[in-house]
Structure formats: C-alpha cells, structure tokens
Symmetry: C2
Subunit: 213 residues, 2 copies
Amino acid sequence: MKNILNANQNKADEIKQHLKEKKVLMVNIIGSPGAGKTTLLENTIESLKETYSIAVIEGDVATDRDARRLQKYDIPIVLINTDGACHLESISIQNALAEFDLDKTDIVFVENVGNLVCPAEFDIGEFAKIAVISVTEGDDKPEKYPLLFREAKAMILNKVDLIEYTDFNKTEFDESLRILNGGLSKFEMSCRKNEGLEGWLDWLKNTHAETAK
Amino acid sequence: MKNILNANQNKADEIKQHLKEKKVLMVNIIGSPGAGKTTLLENTIESLKETYSIAVIEGDVATDRDARRLQKYDIPIVLINTDGACHLESISIQNALAEFDLDKTDIVFVENVGNLVCPAEFDIGEFAKIAVISVTEGDDKPEKYPLLFREAKAMILNKVDLIEYTDFNKTEFDESLRILNGGLSKFEMSCRKNEGLEGWLDWLKNTHAETAK
C-alpha cells in the first residue's frame, strides 16, 4: 500500500510541475454519490466557457452518464472508467491530460468517483481538492469523514434550498469545519437551481489568475 | 488484491457457517454517507427490540458518533474504527462477533462505512447486503454504482418525503433496478419521519424466521 501511494505521489508531482509550466489550473472535485458534482460542473462550465478554455476529466466506476451530460458544451472531455475502483490515480490523470492541448487550456476540472473516503487519499497532481457536500447528507459529515475536509482548499455546501426540510445544523457544521481546516474557502449554493455560485466562480477566477502568473 | 479478497472470503465463509449454527441473522447495511443508515437502524431497533435480541456492529472511518446514537437502546454494540479505510472486512467482523453472546442473539446489524463503492466488494459473512439510498442522491445511482445493487437482497429508498423537491424519476430508478437485479426486495420510506418501515420490518421478521429454521 505504501509503495502504491509513493508511486502515485511521484507521478502526481510530475503532473503538478507540468501544469505549472503550462499555467493550467487543475481542480479535483470530490464528494459522495449524488452530492451534485456533475450539476456543479454544468453550471460552472456554462458560466465560464466564454472566458476560459476548459477541459474535463470524468471519473466513474461504470457508465459514461456524467461525461454525456457535459457533451453539450463542446469542450474536451476524457472519461476514465475505473471498472469498479473507488478513486482516480495520478497515472490515469497523466494519460488523460495527454489528450488535451494544454497550451490552449486554462482550467481542467476532474470529477472524481463519487466517494467521500478513498479519493481524498490520492494526490492526482491537482492544485486543489474541492469537497462537495449537500445538506441532505447531514451536518456530521466533516467530523465523520475528516480527511477530505482537511485536504480540501475549498468546500461547496450544495442543495441549500432543501435545508428547511432537513435537520442540518449550520452552526455545528461550520464549527466542525473550523476545527478541521480553518483556512478552507466555503461556498453555499443550490446547483440544481443554479443559485449562489458567484463566490465559487470568483474563487476559480482568482485561483486561475494566481496559477497563470 | 486477489489474495486479500480470497483471505477475506475464507473468513466470511467461516462466519456464515458459524452464524447459521447459532441461528443468527446478520445483515450488512451499505450506502453513501448521509443516506440514512443510522436513522434506519434507530427506527428498526426501536420497533424490534421487544421481540428480538439485537446486536450492532458499527463501522466508521473515524469517531464513535453513530455508535453513541445507538447507546440509548441498551443493546450490545461493537464499534470498528477503520482509521481511514473505506470498508469493513471479515476479520474485523469475526473479532466483533466474538464480543456478543450469539446464543442469545437473533439479529446482528452491521452498519458499514458510508460508501457506495468499496463495501459492496467485500463479503463479511452476512446473510444479506442491504442497499440504502436516498432520493436526494438521484435516480441514476444504481446504474452508476451497479455492484451494490446487484449484490443486495434488499434495497431501501429513503427520504421519500423529499421527492417532490428533487428531480428524482421513480420510473427510471425502478427500471434500472429491474435490469440489475430482478429479485431485489424494495422498500420506500422516510427514516427521519419514521414512516413506511412496515415492509422492511416484515422482511426482517420473515428472513429471520427462515434463518432460525
């Protein structure tokens, strides 16, 4: 297991260096099945596609459903079907990146396999891990699945339009995040209603500007 | 990986045999973080505890939050903290079962780590895997994460009280389950409201009666 992690990390470091030279921002979107990762991508691409050249790597254990949902944007998409495996590794990412013209790419979004546990353990050369969680999953998730929330640079709390129908306690949720990761950038939104994405879009723009310096 | 799976399966077979001799029904509850597994257990134990001797094995990557939620029932609970690992394995289950007096136990509920992918790959000696999914996760989950839905004997569709606030398409969901696993027993409920559990409780009673024959 240690050898696997070391080999993965070495490859991830190569990717990081390569993306830096090419001034490409790559973010690794991680969350449970149904947290809203693909809908987040749809809205984000819709908002940014006129200004930025975007490419997507879609990770899935089976099917190309998510990749197909993004085909309408006419952007480069590589689908990685893990055939049951629970996370993406840097070797597959390196192969996928080779399919893009990185000289003409600003941002690469990686949608990881729907899983709050395993993907957080694997560096795939991303600049930032983005945790996506929905209010319907409950306010105890950061405490119960701490690694992702520690590792992430930004966290998206999705489906806030449903909060009144749940027992989600925003104060406890924020407090557990503060303890785990005080520097985390936090954004609340409803991807399904395409509401509240401004802060997240600004974060991407600023982060891309830093990367491209 | 193959060796790990083989060793796990051998141990699982031993457990299965032992539980059969003791006439104990063990079910393995699997679903994403926040699908409602612990709330399902709370309601189920509340309904059955006068009639059956129940024990619980709680799997979690970190914290004892779920185990603490069940302490009010004064039943035997063993917490398995996987320390980051994404599923339970049969060796830990065997150790946990040794803590119970199986001659005085009717049903063992195992709450697996919140994860729709990895736990489905590991037989832990259970009689049945139970898939728990909530409508807020979306109707495409069986197709996207097929293994669990193929392996499960029963499926609980939770949070049906929220269906009107989502895009969940019941017809497509049922159709994908029918294709994956025509023999699956299906139950719809709202665990948070403790509504609609009758069918599930009957299934447990009948399945236990079969086991105890």
